[in-house]
Amino acid sequence: MTTPREDWERSFEASRIRDADYSTMSGVPLEAAYGPADGSGDYPGQYPYTRGPYASMYRSKLWTMRMFAGFGTADDTNWRFKEIIKSGGDGLSTAFDMPTLLGLDSDDPMSLGEVGRCGVAIDTLADMEDLYAGIDLGATTTSMTINSPAAPIFAMFIAQAEKAGTPRALLGGTLQNDILKEYQAQKEFVFPPRQSMRLVRDTILYTAAEMPRWHSVSISGYHIREAGSTAAEELAFTLANGFAYVELAMKAGLPIDSFAPRLSFFFNAHIDFFEEIAKYRAARRIWARWLRDRYGAVAERSLQLRFHTQTAGVSLTAQQPEVNIVRTAIEALAGVLGGTQSLHTNSMDEAMALPTEKSARIALRTQQVIAYETNVAHVADPLGGSYFVEALTDEMERQAEELFAHLDALGDGSMLEGCIKGIEDNWFQGRIADSAFDLERKMNRGERIVVGVNRFTEGNDERSMDLLEITNEDEARQLKRLDAVRHERNGAAVEEVLARLAEEAADPEVNLMPTLIEAASAYATLGEIMATMGTVFGRHVEVPVI
């Protein structure tokens, strides 16, 4: 019988290791992971992966420093992308503007004032071509934060890459495509839940068949937490949504191990340091157990939860904004000690505006300090075995299991149904709003201290930071661009493909991805594509609760 330690050592030795000095500053050599002296316990890369998905963790590969960017027109964002690559960021993450997130064209009356404001405006394939111009999409990975119109935007991305010479099978990256959390928290929804889930199914099936390097869904707790949930709610709702996508794809006939390895996660890194680390550890353990025991996954990759982390936007203050650098550093450290695979650090000015180039650079530098100066990446799961962190990990898991039990009952034994019913009944939305209000009350009573907000406010008057100003010129430029595309394209071809899209949308058995790619290639606008599907799918209307 070999001990877990010996098993781990074997896996570790089989891994490719980054060239670095794995000792402390004073010269003490460091092991890649620690455990009990008798070789027992569990190690990184061992089921249930509490301590990390891989045996060698950051010794093989540091986390990807994936900085989220997007503003103005596609040209503007292309320039920011190239800056990120130049300054050492190694993955792209695309932020879209509000009209794009809601599947509207820039010239839609509802888009007035929103074009290019909090992300890049994408109306047609032409914008997608500008967005990634001069960037080798076979060499870098691309993440796209898009949900309701994920399928048509993904179609534009594929059409663009193939036109530029990268076959879709070589494209690596992530489509957020997590529609459930839109109804629960982020609220950028268009179609009703069940119709939206059909599009998610189509993208999962399409990528499973055609794009082995692509992550079809990034199951996102980030927005749930930002909307006000507790850490345990973020954990539970996110994983429950993950189970729902698993059931969705299995119902469509996919064997679990053919798509589960391509699901990834996205969590928040809030300011309560140890609770966050416990949350990530619990997430890995829960996912491994449920995938194996409930859904019958066998492949190791299906059981290994991998995640992206973003520091908490809501923890940033408009008061004394420089202090946000410190908050972000602590949150980022939690993500790293929790074993994140990629990380976005927020910029200090984001409680007031989109970041300037300088503040975005400081945010990236924060990650580089953690990665290269602190030595924290030398040892995997450095807090494993801490009485405190292990107990908190167990508690996160216990609270999450309670919430799963509720959803499972709500869905009569189906997490997919449970999640959809929980949305339709406003259960998620109500719980999140209650938790947000609880925290607000604690802050107002002074029970929860926020530096510069309810304590230590000296210096709050000195606000003179330079902020990024997005002018209406971007909107005007984008409208001109869209107008030109509408004139130059073959109108009859657009009509033909949209008519076909409407027919196919009406048949739930059809996978819409191939026709969506054709529509993108014909320069149909995002608004036209979404409106065409909307005639069949209808619209989701939320009954607001306060």
Binding site: L102, M110, G113, E114, I546
Partner: protein, 134 residues
């Protein structure tokens, strides 16, 4: 008489944590609060302000569209015959605050405003409106 406040989300911004928290703060402070829900336009806000005969309108804006949309709401409300003051809360850079006030916004609340400040600002704006009407 309980003052009636209409709060809403105009435009495409789905961030509704702040608006819901503020709705509860104002309700707890004794106001009657009506929340429009998401994706309102200046026209629908103005119509709701008139139909509900509200004393104040609050807009929550986190998407950067405030310089376009907030003045458009004021304009639509005045055209529809509502003189209720408009307060904006959200991600608003300092340098925009004076410009919003010049466009008819009565007050601006930024991130981190504590509950008692929210209530105090709303009261102050309501008192000023009553005073101006006399």
């Amino acid at each position: 008489m309980t003052e009636r406040i209409l709060i809403g989300k105009v435009g495409l911004d789905g961030h509704d944590r702040g608006v819901k928290v503020v709705a509860r703060i104002l309700r707890d402070a004794g106001f009657e609060v009506i929340y429009t829900g998401l994706f309102q336009t200046p026209a629908t806000m103005a119509a709701a302000a008139v139909d509900e005969d509200v004393d104040l309108v609050g807009l929550s804006m986190l998407s950067g569209a405030h310089m376009t949309l907030a003045p458009a709401v004021v304009e639509a409300m005045r055209a529809a015959g509502s003189n209720a003051p408009v307060v904006v809360g959200g991600i608003i850079p300092d340098q925009h605050i004076e410009r919003l006030k010049a466009a008819g916004i009565a007050a601006v609340l930024t991130p981190g405003a504590p509950a008692d400040q929210v209530v105090a600002v709303i009261r102050q704006v309501l008192d000023q409106a009553t005073h101006d009407a006399q």
